[in-house]
């Protein structure tokens, strides 16, 4: 159960996390980082960033925490990262090789009232897109 006055940092774990917030009236999102897109020859985009937002959660008793995963490198499989919504795969993720980096997974907070089943979206730091596998052209040597 979350405690008043407690500050917690959640990092990527590969699954959603939940907190009992039945004794909590309000939370402050001190910092919320979105996941980056996967790199290839092109660089994956950076995630979005939210700092200092506040939320009245007095009507909810469970907080779902989804921390997104960086998209896979285009040098390997280039798969989309895990998140509440997964990032998109690159063009060739099923076989590896050329195709670009995967998109990052979404980083989100969701509140629930388990007595009614109501679910509300709190906030999201969106993920960056994957970089391309562009091949740099080289002028021929004569």
């Amino acid at each position: 159960m979350a405690q008043r006055g407690e500050t917690v940092t959640y990092t990527f774990s590969g699954d959603k996390e939940t907190e009992d917030i039945s004794n909590i009236d309000e939370i402050t999102i001190d910092r919320m980082d979105g996941a980056d897109g996967g790199d290839d020859n092109g660089t994956g985009g950076s995630g979005g960033l939210i700092e200092g937002a506040t939320v009245d959660v007095s009507n909810y008793d469970v907080l779902e925490i989804w921390v997104g995963e960086k998209g896979g490198s285009g040098y390997t499989a280039g798969e989309g990262g895990f998140g509440r919504f997964d990032g998109g795969d690159d063009f060739n993720s099923d076989v590896g090789g050329p195709g670009g980096g995967g998109g990052g997974g979404s980083t989100e907070l969701v509140a629930k009232d388990t007595s009614t089943g109501e679910t509300v979206f709190i906030a999201a730091a969106d993920a960056g897109g994957g970089g391309d596998d562009i091949i740099q052209s080289v002028a021929p040597v004569r």
């Binding site: 979105g34 200092g52 969106d126 993920a127």
Partner: protein
């Protein structure tokens, strides 16, 4: 041909000649090289600063403080223990 970043729906897979689209940043295509940055969205949250450039190590991260600005008290108010009454003439 990079994949799209996600939020609100899975990012699309990249195509042979174009980057996948996502509700976050789109994946790069051959004309851009680099993937697009993701944005931010507020639901019932409010205030704060919304920018890009999040994530120091690649994956996401969330830092939360619970109960700040709480409106209720843990202890009930105490009754006064020593009262003095001055009668009014």
């Amino acid at each position: 041909m990079g994949g799209g970043g996600a939020r609100g729906g899975a990012g699309d897979a990249g195509g042979n000649d174009g980057g996948g689209t996502g509700f976050g940043g789109d994946g790069a295509d051959t004309s851009t090289g680099d993937g697009e940055d993701g944005g931010q969205e507020l639901g019932i949250a409010s205030g704060g600063t919304l920018t890009t450039g999040g994530s120091a190590d690649g994956s996401g991260e969330i830092k939360i403080t619970y109960g700040s600005g709480a409106t209720t008290s843990e202890e009930p108010p105490k009754a006064p223990s020593n009262l003095t009454v001055n009668p009014i003439d």
